[in-house]
């Protein structure tokens, strides 16, 4: 397995969606390849952080506006 092969299946590995054979050869590669281990850690960390910093709750007043807007649209479409 090359480093490129590892990267191809990294997200499945982290989601535990790989079969046992693939997991075994990936972990075999990781034992001999410190750069891939570093990359795996970075990959996991980066995507974790991306999820954490991208939360954007809808402002309550916007939700209220949306509700009125859609109610009006719905009324109009019934006519």
């Amino acid at each position: 397995m090359t480093c490129k092969d590892v990267i191809d299946i990294l997200s499945e590995y982290l989601e535990e969606a790989l079969d046992a054979t693939a997991v075994a050869s990936l972990e075999q590669h990781l034992r001999d390849c410190p750069p891939c281990v570093a990359y795996l850690r970075t990959f996991r960390k980066s995507h974790q952080l991306a999820g954490q910093v991208s939360q954007a709750p809808m402002p309550p007043e916007m939700k209220q506006r949306l509700r009125s807007f859609l109610a009006a649209q719905l009324r109009d479409s019934v006519h």
């Binding site: 990267i7 997200s11 499945e12 570093a38 970075t42 991208s54 709750p57 809808m58 649209q73």
Partner: protein
């Protein structure tokens, strides 16, 4: 989620779709309650703008009203809504100046002829690997991560949002984008 949970969710969704297709006002209300927050979060992530995101949310729900009859249940309702949201939000971004975007070749990981990775590229930044598994993020880390996300091309950022924020699988992300799983994965590394 257990198998029973999955079946219950699927049945609830099927019932909701049926009511929507019958133009049931309460069903639209419940659709909005269930999805408005997620649609807004994704729209905001793609457009990076509160006003633009609000317009996207309105457009998306109008589209949902008019297109629900064509929904055939080949994907889940959620994936279908993410797909519409992605299309509307990316369209809104198109034509806007892309001052912060960087070239694709600066984002993609590169490989040496022997298959080993070459250099440290991409959104996945090398120096984050050394940082301990901190529970609370410092403002500085947040700022740097946001900056890295902002600099990504729109379609890369969209994949990141669907996967890391909306927590879709590679398959669901591909389905929401109408693209292949391979193309989704190429934007994660």
């Amino acid at each position: 989620m257990t198998l029973m949970d999955t079946i219950t969710v699927a049945e609830t969704e099927r019932a909701l779709v049926q009511q929507l297709q019958n133009h049931d006002a309460a069903a639209f209300e419940s659709l909005m309650e269930r999805y408005a927050g997620r649609v807004y979060r994704l729209a905001h992530g793609i457009t990076r703008d509160t006003m633009a995101a609000e317009e996207v949310v309105q457009d998306v729900f109008l589209k949902l009203f008019s297109a629900i009859e064509t929904f055939e249940g080949r994907s889940t309702l959620g994936t279908w809504i993410y797909r519409i949201t992605t299309n509307v939000a990316l369209n809104k971004r198109r034509g806007k100046r892309r001052e912060v975007e960087i070239a694709l070749e600066d984002v993609l990981p590169t490989f040496k002829p022997d298959g080993h990775r070459d250099g440290d590229r991409a959104f996945v930044l090398a120096d984050w690997s050394a940082s301990p598994e901190v529970q609370t993020l410092t403002d500085e880390t947040c700022r740097r991560v946001r900056q890295a996300i902002d600099r990504l091309p729109d379609t890369y950022r969209t994949v990141l949002l669907l996967r890391d924020v909306e927590e879709l699988s590679n398959e669901e992300t591909a389905s929401a984008l109408g693209e292949s799983v391979a193309s989704v994965k190429s934007r994660l590394a």
